[in-house]
């Protein structure tokens, strides 16, 4: 591999890693604060992608579609939290796992009933539907650069909210000792509803922004779910900073692993996870 292609692969790894961070951030946020393992995470990613595809087709504008799809995703989170999760907090973790597993089946089937089984795509929206010439035969979509920018910006916003706002203090405190936070007069029930809705919206937003880069197909969230769990476990469950560096690490490992050691390509992320857990059993940043 010469230097130019090495540079392109670095870019590929970074871009994939940043997108992974965006997808995984909702998962780690919900787990960190609420202690809920949301197995339906991938299904919500898929719902985001389908929503934006459907709305783009109706409205003819990708950006408008995202603008409308985000509140829909927040509402979905709100409904799921208030109707189902709210009754299960006092019960064992297993009930929540069972519920979110059930949600995968329900959301996947709902997707099939509403949108059918065909494969769809969303065209790359203007003004980012151009490409840069990287080497003499390879181009790079400007939209990919845009997605990187969005992921970085969101990482910054999430970091700022958690580090420098009152809400962030409550969130951090809640992650350490929920009972104490409640004892201090914070309405944990409202906080949970908020966190879950934001988490779902973040995940669905990842699906929306990734839609022009991927294909919209049934079950598209199932494979991303496993990768997200690996990212979150490597970074330390519940840590946003961990999710960020975990995602970059997995992005790079997937990109370079697939080219340098193709025979291990499908295992490389699990090997890294095993290695991290051996040294730091709670993850890199927990």
């Amino acid at each position: 591999m010469d230097l130019a292609f090495f540079g392109v692969q670095l870019l590929n790894g970074l871009q994939y890693g940043l997108l992974l961070f965006l997808i995984a951030s909702g998962l780690t946020l919900i787990f960190g604060i609420m202690g809920i393992i949301n197995l339906a995470h991938g299904a919500m990613y898929m719902i985001g992608a389908y929503l934006v595809w459907d709305l783009t087709l109706r409205l003819g504008n990708f950006w408008l579609a995202i603008l409308i799809a985000i509140p829909v995703a927040v509402a979905l989170g709100l409904i799921i939290e208030r109707l189902f999760l709210d009754t299960l907090y006092k019960r064992d973790h297993l009930y929540q796992v069972l519920l979110t597993f059930g949600l995968i089946l329900v959301l996947n089937e709902a997707q099939r009933i509403i949108w059918g089984g065909d494969v769809h795509s969303v065209p790359v929206p203007a003004p980012f539907d151009a490409s840069l010439q990287l080497t003499d035969n390879l181009q790079y979509s400007v939209y990919r650069l845009f997605v990187m920018g969005v992921c970085l910006a969101l990482a910054g916003v999430i970091y700022w909210v958690i580090r420098h706002t009152r809400l962030g203090i409550i969130i951090r405190a809640g992650a350490v000792n929920r009972d104490m936070v409640e004892g201090l007069g914070i309405n944990v029930r409202t906080l949970f509803t908020l966190i879950f809705s934001v988490g779902v919206a973040l995940t669905a937003f990842a699906g929306m922004i990734a839609a022009p880069l991927t294909s919209i197909a049934p079950g598209m969230g199932d494979s991303i779910l496993i990768t997200c769990f690996v990212v979150v476990v490597i970074g330390g469950i519940g840590s946003i900073k961990g999710a960020f560096w975990g995602a970059i690490l997995i992005g790079m490992a997937t990109t370079f692993g697939s080219v340098l050691i193709p025979s291990l390509a499908s295992m490389v992320i699990y090997l890294i996870m095993a290695a991290v857990l051996l040294v730091k059993p709670r993850g890199l940043f927990a």
């Binding site: 994939y16 059918g116 880069l213 049934p218």
Partner: protein, 390 residues
């Protein structure tokens, strides 16, 4: 529950027509077709297209098989290999069907064929392309009306060489179906004297292709041959075009790369060449009649899977006519099925000694969002079945 209802409805309708049929013979019970296809999950569209095609063929021929009414028993395979033996047993032993038609998924086929071996149930495979079904596993009671991975890929090897390509990179998912497909292409391409520069295997079912596209760009081959299907096919072709590779390195593929995906591919698909045993634009009387008949019955255009279902139906019609609807004498029935010759929408089709279709494979190019037939890549191609001696 849905399937139960459908079955119940089918039997009620079956009985109703039976009773009203004038002077029907006392032992004239309907022919039972057990459909073991995916009616939920990722492969739903395929299961439904096959069912539609099958029913259309039988309806168009008078709704009967060998003078007997037809009862359909639909069972959702869920494309789940672990449930396959149990589901197949239910159809064969529980519902006592005369024929099992299925599956779509090759993993399910493995489970089904185990039961087919033990029970001797006549099984017609309307999709699953694993080579073993009509080669290593070799059973007199098993037929296939579709294709094998090898059969659709092999003709492209010669085409690629004739187009002047000498150094080619092949890429697919790291699973049996993809590897069998590449093996077919590589066998033909290397026999012509071409060189496979690199065979890339992507972990299944990943659709993150950027690093592989960068690798392809650095290898600078004359062309790329690929097998991906469904969402993976759309992602690969679009990413390939977005990386600017399509202009400098032509993209060739198995027909499944673009089958059912043309609309989703948009401009990225234009000019992509594939080989497959069918194209919706085939200019034959049979195909035009089939396409308009299907369109009229179901309000949508048929695809390859619908043709495979349709031919399964035509095969049953022909074979049961030959034995006058007698499903008791299994040996005669199998002989009749093996002797079936169809003027199918896909062209002339007959069966090899291993019960696999002998058929044309077409070279297709996407032009203006349609698979245009460029030519016949292989005429009446037979698959290797050295491991099968019946």
């Amino acid at each position: 529950m849905k399937n139960l209802k459908k079955t119940a409805l089918a039997s009620v309708l079956g009985t109703a027509t039976l009773v009203s049929a004038f002077g029907a013979m006392a032992d004239d019970h309907p022919v039972k077709l057990g459909l073991m296809l995916p009616y939920s999950g990722t492969y739903t569209a395929l299961g439904e297209a096959i069912t539609n095609g099958l029913r259309l063929a039988i309806e168009q021929q008078g709704g009967q098989l060998g003078g007997r009414d037809v009862e359909y028993v639909e069972l959702d395979s869920e494309a789940n290999p672990s449930k396959a033996p149990q589901n197949m047993s239910r159809l064969v032993k529980g519902d006592k069907v005369d024929f099992v038609i299925g599956p779509v998924h090759s993993g399910v086929a493995m489970g089904m064929l185990r039961v087919a071996k033990q029970s001797g149930a006549i099984t017609i495979i309307p999709n699953a392309g694993l080579e073993a079904a009509t080669n290593q596993l070799c059973m007199p009671n098993v037929f296939r009306t579709s294709f094998s991975m090898w059969q659709d890929a092999y003709p492209m090897g010669k085409v690629a060489y004739e187009q002047g390509h000498r150094r080619i990179v092949t890429i697919t998912w790291d699973y049996a179906g993809g590897k069998e497909d590449l093996a077919g292409f590589e066998e033909a391409f290397e026999a012509e004297g071409g060189e496979i520069v690199e065979q890339i295997l992507v972990p299944f079912p990943s659709t993150e292709f950027q690093s592989y596209l960068t690798q392809i760009a650095s290898l600078e081959p004359d062309a790329v041959y690929t097998f991906f299907a469904g969402g993976g096919g759309v992602s690969f072709v679009r990413d390939y075009a977005a990386a600017g590779l399509k202009e400098s390195i032509p993209l060739l593929g198995s027909g499944f790369l673009t089958e059912g995906n043309v609309a989703a591919l948009g401009d990225a698909g234009e000019g992509v060449m594939t080989t497959l045993h069918y194209a919706e634009t085939l200019d034959s009387e049979e195909n035009q009649a089939f396409v308009s008949g299907y369109q009229e019955a179901y309000g949508e255009a048929p695809d390859t899977y619908a043709v495979q279902g349709y031919d399964t139906g035509m095969m049953l019609v022909q074979a049961l006519d030959a034995v006058d609807g007698n499903t008791e004498d299994q040996e005669a029935l199998i002989e009749a099925l093996a002797g079936v010759e169809l003027e199918s929408p896909r062209g002339p089709m007959s069966f090899s000694d291993s019960h696999h279709p002998i058929q044309n494979v077409y070279l297709r190019e996407i032009r203006d969002g349609r698979h245009e037939v460029v030519g016949v890549a292989a005429e009446q191609l037979e698959v290797p079945d050295d491991a099968c001696r019946m």
